[in-house]
């Protein structure tokens, strides 16, 4: 087993990985950018290495710098966390070249899965369907007409070399097909230098369900059940739960088996996640992609299975056998996770920065907080605005939602705007409580993204604000940059104004 591991990440995931490493008797090494010098992921590590610069490109995305830092402090392995370099085969390769273990899959399988078309082929080879698509086609092609005939409208036209929504169009009517194919092709040519397009069936209002897998280096692979991730804003998940309220036991088994088959076909080693689109009404699921890393929402799987995924990642990377058998995987109860973001849910989720002048997370039975921040910390413009993940577990879904709702109502975060009120509104929404939702939930329930009327609470707030204005409250928190006090005594300020 390793004695020292470098965690090539920041924020809550670096804090969380540090915890497991320490519990395993391994010394965690933190890396940090200039704005992160005072962050909890640094103070929680046994050693730390400063990375010059502030932006992600200068620091957490610098492959050479990461490997040098690991060599300098004699770490035997690098854990990449999620995001940043976690799915970059170049880091895995650089680690291999430097004789450092990479806690994740091989660069080869990472590269194969990173290419959407190759990933679809890998899944197809073991009979796992992706969203049905046509061969490459041009305007007026018989192949396009045939596909449209078979699947009907609407359908999607997508660029073969595509990404980021470019070269992608929704075709609503037959008479638009040729024109849209031509437009998409021209867009793709301009964007990627490759005008090949194909048609894909349009899955209306799908659910987003993913399956966790674990594989060791000896050909043993298990799946650890699913996570339902359909509550999204801007195509990013904000709430995840397991088990999914949409899966029957039969569907769950089929998806689990499919996930294991794809992982095996890819020669996958370590923890990975297969994402599927689920058409719940039709009972059909389609392979989307495989994430070759630890997921943000992995703690809900840990909660229902009572295991530590990071510990297994480290053991597998150190060459140990995965002793968990598929029949041992027996989820217990229900877990839900809410991502606490520094963003304004009422102004199109615009990120909020500032100083976390007050940060009092809730605690109680069945709660877990994975946090990357502490009270008094600056929330900067440089990185992802996710501050923490709050998780609730209970024997039933109803009870875990109730625990989550109470916990959110007690979560005091002041100084930056957070999405906590939105998360709470989702918990209180009857459709969500019934488990009847899909990826369009926020779009179809715009009331959730508007502030509640509040009524009496607003009058109370007005009174308390006036009362608080008269309270001699001196903040002991550190000053914000620029030398201005982060908080001032309102009493004294008011007095100075009244009697200048």
């Amino acid at each position: 087993m390793f004695t020292k591991v470098l965690v090539a990440n920041r924020g809550e995931i670096a804090v969380r990985i540090n915890q497991t490493l320490r519990a395993m008797g391994i010394a965690p090494v933190a890396v940090y950018s200039e704005p992160d010098a005072g962050s909890p992921h640094v103070s929680g590590a046994a050693e730390s290495v400063a990375l010059a610069g502030a932006t992600a490109e200068e620091t957490y995305l610098d492959i050479g710098g990461m490997v040098r830092a690991a060599l300098d402090c004699r770490a035997e392995a690098i854990h990449p966390g999620y995001g940043f370099l976690s799915e970059n085969p170049a880091l895995a390769s650089a680690c291999r070249d430097a004789g450092i273990a990479f806690i994740g899959p091989t660069p080869e399988s990472m590269a194969a899965l990173g290419d959407k078309l190759r990933a679809k082929d890998i899944a197809g080879a073991v009979g796992v369907a992706s969203v049905p698509s046509s061969p490459e086609c041009g305007p007026g092609d018989a192949a396009a007409a045939e596909f449209a005939e078979r699947h009907g409208f609407p359908l999607m036209v997508k660029a073969a070399a595509g990404g980021g929504g470019r070269g992608m169009r929704l075709v609503n009517r037959r008479q638009d097909l040729d024109g849209d194919v031509e437009l998409a092709s021209r867009e793709a040519q301009a964007a990627f230098g490759d005008g090949r397009v194909f048609l894909e069936r349009y899955v209306a209002r799908p659910r987003h369900v993913e399956v966790q897998v674990l594989s060791d280096g000896f050909g043993h692979t298990v799946h650890l059940g699913e996570r339902e991730c359909s509550i999204q804003r801007r195509h990013q998940k904000i709430i995840e739960e397991t088990p999914s309220p949409a899966l029957t036991p039969e569907l769950r088994e089929r998806m689990g088996e499919a996930a294991v088959a794809v992982a095996r076909q890819a020669g996958y080693v370590n923890a990975g996640t297969l994402e599927f689109l689920l058409d719940a009404r039709a009972g059909e699921f389609y392979f989307l992609e495989m994430n070759a890393r630890l997921q943000v929402e992995h703690p809900i799987t840990e909660a229902v299975l009572g295991l530590d995924l990071v510990e297994w990642q480290v053991r597998i990377a150190a060459g140990e056998r995965l002793t968990l058998r598929q029949e041992d995987v027996a989820p217990r109860g229900h877990a839900i996770e809410c991502r606490i973001y520094a963003e304004d849910p009422y102004r199109d989720f615009v990120p909020s920065t500032g100083t976390l002048l007050r940060w009092r997370p809730p605690s109680g039975p069945g709660l877990r907080l994975d946090s990357g921040v502490v009270e008094g910390q600056e929330v900067s413009i440089y990185y992802d605005p996710m501050l923490a993940k709050l998780l609730a577990w209970a024997p039933t879904r109803e009870a875990s939602l109730a625990r989550m709702e109470v916990a959110l109502s007690q979560f005091q975060a002041l100084g930056v705007i957070t999405n906590i009120p939105l998360l709470r509104a989702v918990m209180q929404h009857s459709q969500f409580q019934r488990g009847e939702y899909d990826t369009g939930f926020l779009e179809w329930n715009p009331a959730v993204t508007r502030p509640a009327a509040y009524g009496e609470a607003r009058l109370m707030a007005r009174s308390l604000a006036a009362w608080a204005s008269g309270q001699p409250f001196e903040s002991t928190l550190p000053q914000v940059s620029g030398g201005q006090p982060s908080s001032v005594s309102p009493w004294q300020a008011a007095g100075a104004r009244r009697l200048p």
């Binding site: 509640a452 009362w467 009697l499």
Partner: protein, 212 residues
């Protein structure tokens, strides 16, 4: 813990030591709203409260709250129906961020008197530091000092009546009364000079670090 009562009551009388406070706040978040004026009197550990401006939709125009301060920046608040909720607050510059029972509100403090004075065309620039200004329009009831008196910071120097409430006017700093600008019975406007204080050689309140 000092019991604090916020109420729409405004019919009490008496001359117990009171510290008036008043100002203007504007709601910024979650719903930007109109500015509202508040006025607060403390008497025997109780606060009497008036809020002016439109009542928020769906609420009463006046409420009674009992507040228990729980230390720096936090407290408990009990409603008339007996529900107890917790709240906390921080200042971000001149913005008050209030967490109340799971919801976030942000208020902007409007300049309470100097701003009003400017609006009324009274140049704040002409007022020397330490001059005592009328916090709101009303009548002077009593003047408790005469020219030449030495006053301490926070000492009551005058009592005004306004909107059927008595307001205690205190000195912001210690000094010597150079001139009493008003007499009992006189009507004054908000921001009007009531007293002039001569500069004092003793240091002023060291914690008066306003953010301006």
């Amino acid at each position: 813990m000092a019991g604090v009562r916020l109420t729409g009551r405004n019919d009490f009388t008496g001359k117990a030591a009171m510290t008036p406070s008043q100002g203007e706040m504007r709601e910024l978040y979650p719903q930007p709203g109109e500015a509202y004026r508040y006025r607060m009197e403390e008497r025997e550990g109780c606060f009497y409260f008036d809020l002016e401006g439109d009542a928020p939709e769906g609420s009463e125009s006046a409420i009674t709250l009992e507040i228990e301060s729980r230390g720096a920046g936090e407290g408990l608040c009990r409603t008339e129906s007996g529900r107890t909720v917790s709240f906390s607050w921080v200042w971000v510059g001149s913005e008050l961020h209030l967490w109340l029972d799971g919801a976030l509100f942000v208020f902007q403090r409007e300049a309470p008197v100097a701003g009003a004075g400017r609006r009324r065309g009274r140049a704040a620039a002409g007022d020397a530091p330490g001059d005592v200004l009328a916090p709101m329009p009303g009548a002077v009831l009593e003047v408790l000092v005469v020219e030449g008196d030495r006053v301490e910071s926070n000492q009551t120097v005058m009592i005004m009546e306004s909107m059927k409430m008595e307001l205690v006017i205190t000195a912001s700093r210690s000094g010597v009364v150079r001139r009493v600008a008003v007499q009992p019975g006189q009507q004054v406007e908000r921001g009007m000079r009531l007293l002039e204080l001569a500069p004092d050689l003793q240091p002023t309140n060291p914690t008066g670090n306003g953010e301006d």
